[in-house]
């Protein structure tokens, strides 16, 4: 069984639009592995705005993004649709 790798990014403290740009930069860099399902991105942020913008952008790229709130932060997991 293939193992799915997960890359974690902690961008706590960053605010929009930098959070979105950084997330997009990492998605762009790994788009092939993300699309094939070999890789997932776990983005930790405390910026509430990007819990909408990142999943929407990921969805438009044919990916899936789930948001989970943990204490005062959000975990956004970007993976294959």
């Amino acid at each position: 069984m293939d193992c799915i790798q997960t890359i974690k990014f902690d961008i706590t403290g960053q605010i929009c639009p930098s959070t979105l740009l950084i997330a997009l930069r990492e998605i762009n860099r790994n788009i092939d592995d993300l699309s094939s399902g070999r890789l997932r991105l776990l983005i930790t942020t405390d910026n509430r705005d990007c819990t909408n913008t990142i999943p929407e952008a990921a969805g438009n790229m044919g990916l899936k993004a789930t948001v989970e709130k943990i204490d005062s932060s959000y975990n956004i997991l970007v993976s294959k649709e």
Binding site: P17, L24, R25, I31, T53
Partner: protein, 468 residues
């Protein structure tokens, strides 16, 4: 000396010119620098504006001033990031478009090939699209231009249908699915189903209506119903005829049996006179023949009595009441035990067995079945007879079971025939018991059947539908 002075003067002039020239150049360069700075600032402003536009498209706020100085632009490269993102988004949209196109093509193929009429209307009931079958059913003579955009009321129901039976209206009033069975319009009958298509805000944008014509089916059903009525009538007439014939046969059988008794009585009487008054004139062979005549006469008398009994079973008028079968079985079992106290037979009777029927005839059924079980367990060491109730194929079924000699299932049909016996003279009986049981159960519209195996006992089952 003079030459040196000239040289000095000349050198001073040249230096001043150079300074002037340098000053001029500096002025020019400064001017160029201002122009370039202005151009750069304009370009930066342009880039900032475009980046902010794109960020707005991505759903986020503009970059702040401090995030877009020259160094940040190179370091963060927002244009590059957004460019790559849009490239990926376009790629994904292209793939999705292809999938949607395929889905659309499939839907169009299904839509066109469907053998039910399908129509899509907007909130004003204007026809947006319809398939070939829909045109055939409702507006065969119209062209697409005359159909699309036309209110469906004008060319489908044409006002012939009550508003309460308008499926599209039901959907607009908030129903998720509207369905009408046997919807009639101008001599045609349909099953109609309608479902909404919602817009992003959740309002009804379109209504899909499906018309499945069942006119032929309904007509066939009506014909079939009429045929069934006719058939039932014929069956009832035949049944009445057969009952009448059967009754006549039973009456005939009763009459014959009754009439046969008189000549038989004469034969027995003359035989008795012959034995008593002419005994001395008969030789040994004559005595033997006379004895045989008496035996077969008695046998014939027994058979006539049996025939009369079974005829009475068929001719008796039935009086349906609630019958306690457990109590009848108990009384019958006690009678057998008292009549033959030497026998050790375990008799188990389920309590609470009741059924609707004629109490006399059902008493005969129980009596005959226990009589059979009692008879065929005569040679069984630990005889057990069970009278009980079970459910078979969903119907309440009564049974009498024994562990006696049993029978071969190959001959199970012979069990119920009159005067048919599966066993020899070792067991008493004339073969009338189970035939009587079958007639009584048949008169109660029930069924009777037997199960068993040689040496492993027998079970007689019967149902009484009037109880259910």
């Amino acid at each position: 000396m003079a030459a040196n002075l000239n040289n000095d003067i000349s050198g001073a002039t040249t230096g001043a010119d150079e300074i002037m020239a340098l000053r001029q150049e500096v002025t020019t360069l400064r001017s160029e620098n201002r122009r370039l700075s202005m151009t750069l600032n304009l370009r930066n402003a342009y880039i900032r504006d475009k980046v902010n536009h794109l960020l707005n498209v991505m759903g986020t706020i503009p970059l702040r001033e401090e995030e877009l100085d020259e160094e940040s632009i190179i370091e963060l490269d927002p244009l590059g990031i957004i460019f790559d993102s849009f490239r990926h988004i376009l790629g994904s949209l292209k793939t999705k478009n292809s999938q949607l196109q395929l889905l659309h093509d499939e839907m169009i193929a299904v839509f066109s090939a469907s053998q039910v009429g399908i129509m899509v209307v907007d909130q004003e009931f204007r026809i947006i699209s319809c398939n070939r079958r829909m045109k055939q059913q409702f507006f065969r003579e119209l062209h697409n231009g005359e159909i699309l955009g036309t209110c469906c009321k004008d060319i489908v129901c044409k006002g012939d249908v009550d508003d309460q039976l308008c499926a599209a209206k039901r959907i607009l009033s908030g129903e998720k699915v509207a369905s009408f069975k046997g919807w009639e319009v101008r001599g045609h009958i349909f099953d109609v189903e309608a479902a909404p298509i919602y817009d992003a805000a959740g309002a009804v944008k379109r209504i899909v209506l499906v018309y499945n014509e069942i006119t032929d089916l309904k007509n066939s059903q009506k014909e079939l119903e009429q045929l069934n009525v006719g058939l039932e009538q014929r069956v009832a007439e035949r049944t009445a005829l057969y009952r009448e014939i059967n009754k006549e046969l039973e009456s005939f059988c009763y009459s014959i049996s009754h009439d046969l008794r008189a000549p038989l009585r004469h034969i027995s009487g003359y035989s008795a006179i012959l034995r008593e008054e002419h005994s001395e004139t008969l030789d040994q062979e004559g005595h033997d023949l006379l004895k045989r005549i008496c035996i077969v006469g008695d046998k014939m008398g027994q058979m006539i009595d049996d025939l009369l009994r079974i005829s009475r079973v068929s001719l008796t008028t039935m009086n349906f009441v609630q019958v306690d079968l457990s109590a009848i079985a108990q009384t019958t079992a006690t009678m057998f035990c008292e009549t033959d106290p030497a026998r050790k037979v375990t008799i188990r009777i389920s309590p609470g067995m009741t059924a609707k029927g004629d109490v006399t005839l059902l008493g005969l059924v129980i009596q005959n079945l226990i009589d059979n079980a009692w008879k065929y367990t005569a040679n069984t060491g630990e005889a057990v007879i069970e009278v009980g109730r079970t459910i078979i194929k969903g119907s309440e079924t009564f049974f009498v079971r024994d562990n006696g000699v049993g029978f071969d299932m190959a001959y199970r049909d012979k069990l119920f025939r009159i005067f048919e016996r599966l066993h020899g003279q070792e067991f008493d009986g004339s073969g009338i018991g189970l035939a009587t049981v079958q007639r009584i159960i048949s008169r109660h519209r029930g069924e009777v059947w037997a199960e068993g195996a040689v040496g492993r006992g027998a079970t007689i089952y019967f149902t009484l539908p009037a109880s259910e």
